[in-house]
C-alpha cells in the first residue's frame, strides 16, 4: 500500500519538516520503496518531482528535505507498487492541465476491474489503475463543466464526491487531488487530518527522531491543514476521516465535507458519452 501526504496553507510554507518524516516511510521506517513524488502548487504555478528510487535515500528526496520550497499546497506520495511496474511513468502524483490549471493527483489503494471508457481527453502515460482513475475523473469533470474557468470548488466538490464513490466500488480509493486553489482529500479506508494554527506547538515526528518548534517558522495568522494516511507527528491531534468522506481544504482550512452513501449498483464501465459530450449512465 502506498502512503499519501498533503499540506494546504493560507501563506506559502515549507514542507521540509513534514516531508522528512513522511519520506522516511519510503524504505526506512516503511516498506514503500518503489518510488515517490511531490507536486508543489503555488497559485497557478506548479512544480512536479517524481523519482523511481526509494524516498528514504534518493538524492532528489534528500534535496527536497534540505531545501525548503515555499508553496500554498503540496501533495506527496510514496509508492508500494501493486499495479504497474516500478518505473518513472507509474510514480504519483500524476499531473494534467484542465481549465488552464495544473491538476495533480495521488492514490492509495488498489482498484480491481476498473477499465473506464477513456475518450482521449486525458490518457494514462503509465500503466497504473491510479492514473486511469485520475484521467477518467478529469474526463467526466471536463465534459460536465467545460474547459473554461467558470465555477470553483463549490461546484466541483459534489461531483468529485460522486465520482469517488463510484470508482470506490472497484476497491480502496483514498486519494488527494489539487488544482492549486483547493485540495480534495477522499478517504475510502484510511486517512487522517489536522489543522495547525496559533499557538503552534513543538511537534515530534513519528518516523524520525526530530522535533520542531512550529511557532518559530509560523506567524500568529498562519494556518495549515495536513492530511496523511497515518499521523506524522506524535503529539498533535490527528483526526480520522470517515469511510467514504471527501473533504475540501482551502487556504489551510476545511471548507466542505460529505460522506457518500454507498454507491447504488453503478459500474464505471457502463458510462457512455452521448454526442453532446455529457455523461449519461446506463445501469447494468
Amino acid at each position: 500500500m502506498c502512503q499519501l501526504f498533503a499540506l494546504s496553507c493560507n501563506v506559502p510554507s515549507a514542507v521540509t519538516f513534514a516531508f522528512s518524516g513522511f519520506s522516511a516511510r519510503g524504505g526506512h521506517t516503511g516498506e514503500h520503496a518503489d518510488g515517490f513524488g511531490l507536486s508543489v502548487h503555488d497559485g497557478s504555478g506548479c512544480r512536479w518531482f517524481v523519482d523511481d528510487q526509494r524516498a528514504s535515500d534518493s538524492a532528489l528526496a534528500d534535496f527536497l528535505r534540505r531545501h525548503p520550497i515555499r508553496a500554498r499546497t503540496v501533495l506527496a506520495h510514496i509508492r508500494k507498487a501493486t499495479q504497474g511496474p516500478v518505473q518513472l511513468a507509474n510514480c504519483h502524483p500524476f499531473v494534467r492541465e484542465w481549465r488552464g490549471r495544473h491538476w495533480s493527483f495521488c492514490h492509495n489503494g488498489d482498484l480491481r476491474g476498473f477499465h473506464p471508457a477513456l475518450a482521449g481527453d486525458y490518457l494514462p502515460v503509465g500503466s497504473t489503475d491510479s492514473e486511469r482513475a485520475f484521467c477518467w475523473m478529469l474526463q467526466v469533470l471536463r465534459r460536465r463543466f467545460g474547459t473554461r474557468r467558470a465555477r470553483g470548488w463549490r461546484s466541483l466538490a459534489p461531483v468529485i464526491s460522486d465520482l469517488a464513490a463510484r470508482i470506490g466500488r472497484h476497491g480502496r480509493f483514498n486519494f488527494l487531488l489539487c488544482d492549486g486553489e483547493a485540495l480534495y482529500a477522499h478517504c475510502s479506508t484510511r486517512l487522517h487530518w489536522l489543522v495547525r494554527e496559533h499557538p503552534f506547538p513543538t511537534a515530534r515526528l513519528v518516523d524520525r527522531d526530530i522535533e520542531m518548534d512550529l511557532s518559530v517558522a509560523n506567524g500568529a495568522g498562519d494556518r495549515m491543514a495536513l492530511v496523511a494516511t497515518e499521523p506524522l507527528t506524535r503529539n498533535e491531534r490527528w483526526l480520522p476521516f470517515e469511510e467514504g468522506e471527501l473533504r475540501v481544504f482551502v487556504d489551510g482550512a476545511p471548507v466542505w465535507r460529505r460522506v457518500a452513501k454507498s454507491a447504488a449498483g453503478y459500474d464505471t464501465r457502463a458510462y457512455r458519452h452521448d454526442s453532446t459530450g455529457e455523461v449519461s449512465l446506463n445501469r447494468p
Copy 2:
C-alpha cells in the same frame, strides 16, 4: 532573449556537463536570470523541473549540475522575460499530455499579435506567448491526428514544420518540442546542433573553465545529438540551422529536416475548426 538546449541520445545519458555550461548563462555569463527549467524524458517517463530563480545560483540548478539524471532526451531553457512576468507559471518547458505521452516545449523568441483561437483542448496556465503557441500547436495536432497513438514522427514532422512557419510570421520562433520518442528543433533565427559519437573528444565549455574527456563516460556505440541557441563547447564543430529549418532527432541522430518556404499570407487567427474537428484555413 531566452536560450535553448536539448540532448537526444541512443542510450540514457547524463546531462550534468552540458547543463553546467548552459546554466551559467542564467545570470553568470549571460543575462537570462528570469527562471529556468528542464524536462527529462526517458521513454514514456518524464521529469519536469522549473524554477523562477537564476539558473546560475538556484539550489535546484545546483542539484541538477551535481546529480546526474540519466535519460534519452532532455530539454532545457533559461529565461529572459519578454512577455509575462517572472513567475513559476511562465517558466519553460511547458508540459502537456497528448496520446498518452508527455510533450514538453520551450521557446526562444517573441511573438507579436499571436492570439490563436484556443478551443480548450489545451489552455495556457501562465501568460506567455510561448505557452499559447505550444497549446495551439498541440490543439491542431490533436484535431488532425486524434488522441490514439497511430503514427509517429514521420507523420507529425511535416505538420509541425507547417505550424512553425505559420506561427513564425508573428516573430522569432526558435523552439524545442519532445515527446520522449523524437526531438523536434525549429530555427527561426538562431540555433546550432552537433552530433557526438566515437571517437569522443575532450570537450571544453564556453561558459565555464571546465573540460571533460567524453570518451570516459561514453562507449563506442553511444551517440548523442546536442542542440543549443549558442554553441556550448569551444572545440567541437557546431553547425548552424538554416532559418526556417525544422530538424527531427531520434536516438541521438538527425533523421529528418525541412526548410520551410516563406509562409504565404497566413494568419493563425484565421484558423477555424469545422464540426469534424479538422482544421481549415480562411485566408485573410
